[in-house]
């Protein structure tokens, strides 16, 4: 405990905690919608796109990676969410295609053009998040706070519309709700969350932040509101526990958080089974 208190003295630890809580909150909010729309893998696909974008940014020497990464990811999200349903290639196949394509392309770029001596270390950091969350500077933190607050505010304001569009898009359209617009909004928010979450868990593990809270909540609760609230609480608690464990134990942040998520999911699953609340 003393050791923990001592760590809290360091600003970078506090930054990491703030960022971790915000990101886990944001990702869990939209997780429910993504899981229900059968887009669980979109987080994965987009994070690989973001990885590719980072590769481009670092190769071309852009100072602030965000300038490249955010727009590229947003555009991919819009394309992916829009194409599914209409396109000849099914949604999940399209995601898989873009996802591995971007991953390969990004690694290739980094390999061919990178000046860094520790290439595999760099790649590993981008993929698994490693310790980069402990090296955040105040600008990163503020950026994260601002974007998170925007995401949370949008989610609360459009909560009822998001429910309507997720539950029954045809009905929503028939009664005059601009469902395309809301789908677009959902896509953009997801992209923002993905880019934010890359800092925390790295691009390979983002899906975990999106789907575990939602799936766990769906084991225990049966209304949209309770599922949303529980998954937010679940996600933030797991992120906090994960970060504390990783600070104390010196384990990598991202994978520790995800491990806690998996464990907590198992607990929810069992509780759901025993109380007969799940199905």
């Amino acid at each position: 405990m003393d050791k923990l208190m001592m760590y809290f003295e360091y600003p970078f630890v506090r930054y990491a905690l703030i960022v971790g809580v915000l990101i886990s909150l944001c990702s869990s909010l939209l997780g429910v919608t993504l899981v229900l729309k059968r887009f669980s893998f979109i987080g994965d696909g987009l994070s690989h796109v973001a990885f590719g974008a980072i590769a481009i940014a670092s190769v071309t020497g852009v100072s602030n990676e965000m300038i490249v990464v955010l727009p590229v990811t947003v555009i991919s999200a819009v394309l992916l969410l829009n194409s599914s349903g209409k396109a000849k290639i099914r949604g999940d196949a399209a995601i898989a295609m873009i996802s591995v394509g971007a991953l390969a392309f990004g690694y290739l770029l980094m390999n061919v053009f990178s000046a860094s001596s520790n290439l595999s270390g760099d790649v590993c950091t981008t993929l698994f998040g490693s310790t980069s969350i402990l090296t955040l500077n105040p600008t990163d933190v503020w950026m994260c706070i601002v974007l998170s607050v925007i995401v949370i505010a949008i989610f609360i304001v459009f909560y009822n519309k998001i429910f309507a569009v997720t539950f029954d898009e045809n009905f929503a359209k028939a009664v005059g709700t601009k469902s395309d617009l809301y789908n677009l909004m959902i896509a953009i928010i997801i992209a923002v969350i993905i880019v934010l979450a890359m800092n925390l868990v790295g691009s390979l593990l983002i899906s975990a932040l999106v789907i575990f809270p939602a799936l766990s909540a769906m084991r225990l609760f049966k209304s949209f509101k309770s599922v949303t609230v529980f998954s937010a609480i679940f996600s933030v608690s797991c992120a906090l526990v994960g970060m504390v464990v990783s600070i104390l134990g010196g384990t990598p942040v991202g994978s520790t958080i995800v491990a806690v998520d998996v464990f907590a999911f198992a607990v929810c699953y069992l509780v759901g089974r025993i109380t007969g609340r799940g199905n």
Binding site: V157, F163, D168, V175, G176, K222
Partner: protein
């Protein structure tokens, strides 16, 4: 001016034309039944009217004063995922989404409307239950309550009584009829030709033969006589069954 006017309308999916050459008009206060066999394109037509599918050719003209915010809709199949967490209350309330407009949250009045429609459907006790744990008929009533929440001028119902028990079916017919009398235009798809003959003001029959006209005209027409007679025969069979059971 009429509320909806379809002119030489063809509907279908992409290049796949399901129905063509449809002409009909719906005036305010009408009660239009759309009848026809399975697969004849009734649902397709309704989706085209709602703008969920683009018309392949021809056109649908909406009278002024009708916008989609005053339309209620009961789909035939709601592709809700099996594990969707949603309570009866949340779903019925979402019927008010068009009343709500860009305002983020539902107000007291909209909640009262939702409550009232839940009561009308006899679902008050199930209000907080999870939708996916209800029986088929109960789910149908939830979606009807939602459609009623959305209605202002026009309601489109795709087989609203499918899967309901006889008592509730009768209630439903009364309810829709009352709705119609209160000035709301009803377009309804149904296989119950007897009910169509009883309640409809107009009937649109689609299939190999297309017919559109008033209820009276339909009953006098060849196609109408044929289908009504079939309906009566089926009715007699089930009546006989009941007699024998006694």
């Amino acid at each position: 001016m009429s509320l909806i006017k379809a002119e030489n309308l063809s509907a279908g999916y992409d290049s796949d034309t399901i129905i063509e050459g449809i002409n009909f008009t719906v005036n305010e206060g009408d009660y239009l039944y759309i009848v026809g066999e399975n697969g004849s394109g009734k649902t397709t037509l309704m989706k085209t009217i709602l703008g969920l599918l683009p018309p392949l050719s021809g056109e649908i003209v909406f009278g002024d004063g009708l916008n989609s915010k005053e339309i209620g809709y009961l789909p035939q199949h709601t592709p809700v995922q099996k594990d969707f967490p949603a309570s009866v209350w949340e779903i019925v309330l979402s019927g008010c989404q068009s009343r709500c407009g860009i305002r983020p949250f539902y107000n007291k009045k909209e909640k009262a409307i939702a409550n009232e429609n839940i009561r009308k459907m006899g679902m008050t006790d199930l209000k907080n239950r999870c939708y996916r744990e209800l029986s088929g008929g109960q789910q149908q009533r939830v979606l009807l309550a939602r459609a009623l929440c959305a209605t202002g001028k026009l309601i489109l119902l795709d087989e609203p009584v499918a899967g309901l028990d006889p008592m509730v079916t009768l209630d439903m017919y009364r309810l829709i009829s009352d709705l119609n009398k209160s000035g709301i235009t009803v377009i309804m798809i149904s296989h119950d030709v007897a009910a169509a003959a009883k309640y409809a003001s107009h009937i649109l029959h689609i299939g190999d033969m297309v017919f559109f006209g008033t209820n009276e005209e339909y009953r006098q027409s060849k196609i109408g006589k044929y289908f009504l007679m079939q309906g009566e025969m089926l009715g007699e069979i089930s009546n006989d069954g009941k007699k024998e059971a006694k």
